[in-house]
C-alpha cells in the first residue's frame, strides 16, 4: 500500500506498532510522508491520529508505559536510534497542539521562548523573530500593542494562533499540527490554511484534522485511520474522489457542507 508521491519522502514509517501499556494504539502502520507537502491525518475520534503524530517528534517518550516497535526515519535517520538528540529532533519537528497551551507568560515571552531555548538572546533578533512569527500566525495586528500582556488574557482563538506563532519561531523543518485550527474561527482558520500553503514550499507539514474539507482543501496527501490502523493512504484528490476502501467511503460520505 504505497502512495504515489510526487515529491521525495522525508519521513518513512515502517511497521510501526505502539502500545499504551497493554492497549494496542497503533497497528502495523507504514507510510511515507513527502517532503515540502501537506499530509493530513483523518479518522474518527480515538483512532490514533494524535498518537502517530506524537511519535514523529517523540513526544510519546514522556508517557510512561508507552512501547514502540518498528521504525521511523526522518531524512533517512532513524529518530529512535541512540544517537538522536531528542531536543534537536523536536526543534526540527515543531508541534501545535489540539488545545491551545500558551505559557502563563507575556505574549512576547511565549514566542521568544523557543528561540531563547536554542541560544538566541539578542534583543533585536528576538524582536524580529517575534514579529515575523506573529505575522505568520495572523496575530500580529491584534497584539502588537500588547506584547507585554499575559498570553492567558487572549481569547481561545487568539491563544491557538499564538501557539502556532511560537512553533514557527524556532523555524522547524517539519510542522505537526494536531487539530490546530479546531478552536479557530473561519477567518483565522483560512489565514492559517493559507499560511500552511505558503509554508509547504519550505516546510513539511503533517496535520491532524477533523474537518474533511480542510483536508481536501489543504493537503496533498491524506491518510485515513481507523482503530489504530491505516485504512487508506493516497493523494488527497484520489482519496476523496475514488476511495478504494469501503470504510473510507463510508467515513467521507458522512461528510457535509
Amino acid at each position: 500500500m504505497q502512495a504515489p508521491t510526487q515529491t521525495q519522502a522525508l519521513i518513512e514509517i515502517d511497521k510501526l506498532n505502539l502500545y499504551y501499556g497493554t492497549f494496542h494504539a497503533l497497528k502495523n502502520v507504514s507510510m511515507e510522508i513527502p517532503e515540502k507537502a501537506i499530509t493530513a491525518f483523518i479518522g474518527p475520534s480515538g483512532c490514533g491520529k494524535s498518537t502517530l503524530l506524537r511519535t514523529l517528534n517523540r513526544m510519546n517518550d514522556m508517557i510512561a508505559g508507552t512501547r514502540i516497535e518498528g521504525k521511523i526515519a526522518i531524512g533517512g535517520a532513524d529518530i529512535y536510534s541512540k544517537e538522536v538528540d531528542v531536543e534537536t529532533l523536536r526543534k526540527k519537528v515543531g508541534m501545535v497542539f489540539q488545545q491551545p497551551n500558551p505559557f502563563p507568560k507575556s505574549i512576547y515571552d511565549n514566542v521568544a521562548y523557543g528561540p531563547r531555548l536554542h541560544g538566541i538572546t539578542g534583543r533585536k533578533q528576538l524582536d524580529e523573530i517575534v514579529e515575523t512569527s506573529l505575522r505568520s500566525a495572523a496575530l500580529w495586528e491584534e497584539v502588537k500593542d500588547y506584547l507585554k500582556r499575559s498570553a492567558l488574557s487572549l481569547s481561545g482563538g487568539q491563544q491557538q494562533r499564538l501557539c502556532i506563532a511560537r512553533a514557527l519561531a524556532v523555524e522547524p523543518d517539519v510542522l505537526l499540527m494536531d487539530e490546530a485550527t479546531s478552536a479557530l474561527d473561519p477567518i483565522s482558520t483560512l489565514k492559517i490554511e493559507e499560511l500552511a500553503q505558503e509554508l509547504k514550499d519550505r516546510y513539511t507539514i503533517v496535520m491532524v484534522t477533523h474537518n474533511m474539507h480542510q483536508a481536501a482543501r489543504v493537503s496533498n496527501q491524506t491518510v485515513f485511520f481507523l482503530n489504530g490502523e491505516v485504512v487508506e493512504y493516497a493523494e488527497t484528490e484520489k482519496l476523496f474522489s475514488t476511495p478504494r476502501d469501503q470504510r473510507t467511503e463510508d467515513y467521507i460520505s458522512g461528510r457535509f457542507g
Binding site: 519522502a9 535517520a77 536510534s81 538522536v84 538528540d85 531536543e87 536554542h118
Partner: protein
Amino acid sequence: MAAGVQSNPFASSRKSGNRLKNNLFTGLVWTVGICTIIFIIGLLFLILEKGMPKLSIDFLLGLPDEIMEGGGIGPALFNSFYVLIISLVISVPLGMAAGIYLSEFAPDNKFIGFLRVCVEGLASVPSIIFGLFGIVLFVEAFDVGLTIIGGAVSLAFLNLPVLTRVTEEAIRAVPQEMKHASFALGGTHLQTIRRVLIPVALNGIITGICLVAGRAFGESAVIILTAGVTTSGVMWDFNLLSPGETLAVHLWYVQSEAIVPDAVEIAEKSAAVLVFIVLMINLLFRIPLWLNARKTR
C-alpha cells in the same frame, strides 16, 4: 528517499552548553534526591535502631516509674493520641472552613490581603507563645488548671494558621473550569465546594493535615505549659480535665530531668515510638487518597 545522509541530522548538532547543563542538572537533582533519601533513612535508622528492638507491650502500656528501671509510657502515649485527636477535631474543620472562606468567599481587597499575611504571621509565632496564650486562657481565665483539653485546644490554635493557608492554597489550585462545570450544572456553591473543590484539592489538604498532625504529635512546649508534665497515672483516662502529659513531653522530661537509671533507654524508646507513630499517621491519612486514586483508575 532523501539524499544519502550519512550522519544523523538529529545527533546533537550544537556543541550545546544546554545539553551539558541539562546533564549537570539531572545529575544534581538525582544526587540531592539520593542524598536526601540516604539522610532520611540514616536519621530514621538512628532514631529507630536504638529504641525499636527493645520495645515491649509492657513499655507501651505500662505506667512510668521515677525510681525503678522498667517504667512504661502508657498514659503518656494514650494522652498523645487523645490530645492529637481532640486538637485535630477542633483545628481541621475550623482551619478548613477559614481556608475555604479565604479562597472562595473573601472579597479580593486590601483587608483580606492583610488578613492572609496575618495568618501566615501567626504560623511563625513560636509555640511557647501559644503556650503562654493557653495559660492565660485556660489556667487563668477559665481556671481549669493543667488539663488535656487545655493542651489540645492550645495545640489546635497552634495548627490553625497552617491548616487555613494550606486549605486556601489547595483550593485555589483547582482549575477554574472544574468549578465552572459544576456551577453550570446548577450546583450551589456549597455543593461545588463539597463535591468538586475539596475532592480535587484533597491531596494538598491531606499533606497539610499530615504536616500538622506530625507537628502536633511531636510538640512539647505548648503541652508543658498548658497540660503539664504529669498524667493521671492510670491507663485509659478519658477525663478531659485530667493532666495531659504527652509522649513528646515525657521524652523531654526524661531527657532533661528524670533521675531513673534507665532514662537514656526510655528516651531512645520513646523517640522511636514517636517517630514510628508519626509514620503510621502519615500512612493512615493517605489511605483515602490511595483509594480515591484507585477508584478513578
